[in-house]
């Protein structure tokens, strides 16, 4: 599901840039034994948890919450 990957990258990009956003999604996919394109909506919790873990130390908590909400909104 390339759409999920693209959606997450699109939400993350304004904050961390295209390259890091891409790495973030691919790393999550890799940890699930998948490629970025194979990510499905079932993988969303793992993706969100990874986004929270990676952005938590560098971004305001409210911003991370909003990013997660935006990802969820983009998928539905």
């Amino acid at each position: 599901m390339a759409a999920l990957m693209e959606c997450v990258i699109e939400v993350l990009e304004p904050f961390v840039g295209r390259m890091v956003a891409d790495t973030c999604v691919r790393a999550t996919a890799l940890s699930l034994g998948k490629s970025g394109d194979e990510l499905e909506s079932d993988d969303l919790p793992a993706l969100e948890s990874n986004v929270r873990r990676l952005l938590g130390p560098i971004a305001p908590r409210e911003t991370v919450d909003a990013i997660i909400l935006e990802i969820e909104g983009g998928i539905r």
Binding site: F15, V16, V20, P57, A59, P60, R61, T63, V64
Partner: protein, 273 residues
């Protein structure tokens, strides 16, 4: 700054008022209005006001983040560093303006000035390390270490060798004369290079912008400190010198960085509601 790339009015106010204040102080001092004592008072009190504003903005930013958030610790450390510097300046001002004496070196202000480096270095390094899950930091560590070694070597050759060899300089004075330039290199410049190399990997990402302003501020502070050390060693430094402007601008840029980081909270809150 928001994720869309615009600074908030608060951030513009911090930048414009801070820089205008710093320039106004310097111009007033340069005109020599009211005589030498008045110029010294304007320079000292103006510096305290401008850098005090920078400390207040940075601490307010830190307190805006939730308790236990890593960002709060990072910005509190930076804010504490600026506050310590302001306290040092206040003591300096009291001695120079109220008592009408030449501030001693080493003296009470040095306790605050030397402590500043530790808080500032800790804040910047912990901020850079926070990116370790997201970007490669090994090259950034090596790059900053290389800059530290080269700059340290240059400072030794230009300044420290002469200071250490001078038999007329007391031990405590020697220790401080070594600590300040090395503190600039190891606790300001190297962490600044470290974080700028880390956030460079974010490209146009909004989370890089606050740290770019901080790095610009730290670079100006490091240069101002080095020039001050050299002028002090040559006996040419006077209150109101151009390096005072460097210190004020450096701290204003740190505060602007803090304000930009705070701006990044706003779009999130709107989305949540």
């Amino acid at each position: 700054m928001t994720a869309t790339g615009t600074f908030s009015r608060r951030t513009w106010a911090v930048l414009v008022l801070g820089l205008a204040g710093a320039l106004a102080v310097q111009i007033l001092v340069a005109t020599g209005i009211g005589g030498e004592r008045a110029s010294i008072a304007i320079s000292d009190l103006g510096g305290v006001a401008v850098i005090g504003m920078a400390a207040a903005v940075t601490i307010r930013t830190a307190l805006r983040f939730g308790k236990g958030e890593p960002l709060q610790k990072q910005w509190l450390a930076i804010g504490a560093g600026i506050t310590l510097y302001v306290l040092g300046d206040l003591v300096w001002t009291y001695i120079e303006v109220v008592q009408g004496l030449e501030p001693p070196f080493p003296g009470l202000p040095d306790i605050f000035y030397t402590s500043m480096y530790i808080f500032m270095g800790y804040g910047i390094v912990s901020a850079a390390l926070a990116y370790r899950g997201l970007v490669r930091i090994k090259a950034a560590i090596i790059g900053s270490a290389a800059i530290a070694v080269v700059s340290g070597g240059a400072i030794y050759l230009v300044l420290l060798r002469e200071v250490l060899a001078d038999p007329e300089v007391g031990l405590l004075e020697k220790v401080l004369n070594v600590y300040y330039p090395l503190g600039d290199v190891l606790l300001l410049l190297a962490p600044a290079v470290f974080i700028v190399l880390v956030v460079a990997q974010l490209g146009r990402g909004a989370l890089a912008v606050p740290w770019r302003l901080v790095v610009a501020g730290l670079a100006i502070l490091a240069v101002a400190d080095s020039v001050y050390q050299w002028m002090e060693w040559q006996g040419t430094y006077q209150t109101g010198s151009i390096v005072d402007l460097g210190w004020m601008i450096g701290y204003v840029l740190l505060a602007a960085g803090a304000s930009v980081m705070r701006d990044l909270i706003a779009p999130a809150r709107r989305s949540v509601r």
